[in-house]
């Protein structure tokens, strides 16, 4: 893959949800190229299709029409296992609800994708390095996620998203459940991570949060405007 090839490419992608009282067009003929190392904010009113866009890029949802390429691979040609492995190795997810695994400790949460990938439970100090990188105290590692504050949980989620060294981070309102001060800290962290070469696509309602991105995309009724 050459460096000027887009890391993500949407080619006339539509997503239509068939519903009994009429189809809902969540994405309407969206085309988008994302360069490696980009930091893109996706904005738009509620119901405009922001999450749908992120889910499609995240290979959690398949487009009804059009093609999606991630690192040059047409995901329409991949099996469910291949898509799953792509999410594990190439994509990192950061959610508004943090979405940590309640049964696992902080350490286990962070190393979970690595264990999935390598089938081994040894990280050679990687977990410690990541917790330091995301500004988390090491004493928290043996705790359960429920014992952490929202800001701490989001840092754990970011550490988990980074553990397999993915090329792309997908963030759906990463600061949506955090106070302004904690949100700023998280955004500084994401900016730092982007500076280290990760491509970030972030959905947000908040224009001040969108300012951290290099580029902002506005969605209205499933269309980029």
């Amino acid at each position: 893959m050459s460096t000027d090839q887009p890391i993500i490419r949407l080619d006339h992608v539509s997503k239509i949800y068939p519903l009994p009282f009429g189809d809902v067009t969540a994405l309407d003929d969206v085309s988008l190229d994302v360069e490696p190392g980009a930091f893109i904010a996706v904005m738009g009113p509620s119901g405009s299709g922001k999450s749908t866009l992120l889910n499609v890029i995240g290979c959690l949802d398949v487009p009804t029409k059009g093609d999606l390429f991630i690192t040059g691979r047409n995901i329409g040609e991949l099996s469910d296992d291949e898509l799953t492995d792509l999410r594990r190795d190439t994509l990192g997810f950061i959610f508004q609800q943090f979405n940590l695994i309640p049964l696992l400790t902080v350490r286990e949460n962070v190393e979970y994708p690595l264990v999935l990938k390598t089938r081994r439970r040894e990280s050679e100090g990687l977990v410690e390095a990541l917790t330091r990188r995301v500004g988390l105290e090491e004493e928290l590692l043996p705790h359960k996620p429920s014992e952490l504050s929202g800001g701490q949980q989001q840092r754990v989620a970011i550490a988990r998203a980074l553990v397999n060294d993915p090329e792309i981070l997908l963030c759906d309102e990463p600061t949506g459940n955090l106070d302004t001060k904690t949100g700023t800290l998280i955004m500084e962290l994401l900016t730092e991570v982007n500076g280290q070469g990760k491509t970030i696509i972030m959905v947000t309602h908040d224009p001040r949060i969108a300012e951290y991105a290099h580029r902002t995309i506005n969605l209205v009724d499933g269309k980029i405007v």
């Binding site: 959690l60 296992d81 594990r88 190795d89 959610f95 979405n99 049964l103 994708p113």
Partner: protein, 385 residues
Amino acid sequence: MIFFEFAKRSIRLHWLRSLLAVLGIVIGVMAISSMGILGNSLVLSVGEALSDVGDTVVVYPHAGGFGNGPPVQTDTVITGRQVQQIERAVGVNDVIPLHVSADRIEVGGEMGVVQVYGMDTADIPLLLEVTQGVYLRGASGALVGQMLAETYDLGVGSRITVGDQSLRVAGILTERGVGFDINPDRAVIVSDQWYRSVYGEADYDQVIVKVRNLEEIEEVKHDIDAALNRRETEVDIFDTRMILETILETFSTISTFTTAIGGISLVVAGVSIFNVQMMSVTERTREVGIIRSIGTRRREVMKMFLYEAFLLGFIGSAIGGILSFGGGYLALLVMLQDTTFLFAPSSLVYIPYGMLFGIGTSLISGVYPAWKAANLNPIEALRYE
């Protein structure tokens, strides 16, 4: 194994309902194992008691209208002429006519009642085995059964009084167990000359035919029947193998039936595992959404839930297996009053058998919930509250 860890923690987190599901498996496994042990012990104890080799046809004088089992006591007899007819009918096979009666026995002042068999001394080795001493040679002397010998502390050369005749013990018989032809273990065997001279009776009470070729047993029975019962029923003919088989078959059926009843309790346990697993899947829908979205394959989700079902089944089966020793012991004590067959390999095999069923039931019950979890739509699962 991260998925095994998930399963363990999920069970620990919901320990109460897990415990109840495990209890179901424990009871199911115990029911199957204990019933299996009981049934098997039943068959074994019957089989041991009925030591007959099964090559024997027994002919009794016809008992009259009632019952169709071997008569306990009758006034009717088999005459010498009938014995000759039987001999002609069965050809090369050995025919052993017997006198049977009961009499008083006295040994050194100790009194009792004993079964007395009178038979041709040449026939004795065909039917009985001597463990000490020798077979009867002349008309006098007696062979005694092992248990009778123990009761009266008899050895070769001891003197016993039967009725009011004194007899010298020539040999002691090998223990034989309960049979359908004769029961010599607590009996005295004398020559037919002695028997006739003492009891004054020439007719026989029973005729045993030893069949050389087992396949011919039906034929032999048929031939005797044709020879003696043509005009009117003079004799009743039994073959010991048939009796033995019927009894063993009956007990096997009972045993299968009781084990199957144990199986029903396992089905109930399976339903409870199914319930617990469905609950677990529903509660953890969001968690499944999370792990699917960050790169967990369907098979891995499936594994995670199957491990959970397996663990419940394994714990239940392990506990149930251990308790089955107690359960089996109790069942034997109550039903058979005899626990000697608990540790027979063919009894013990019901414990791993029951455990296997326990684990199998749990796994089968866990398949659908696990499949359901694995095939959840990740986005919808993530949205689930």
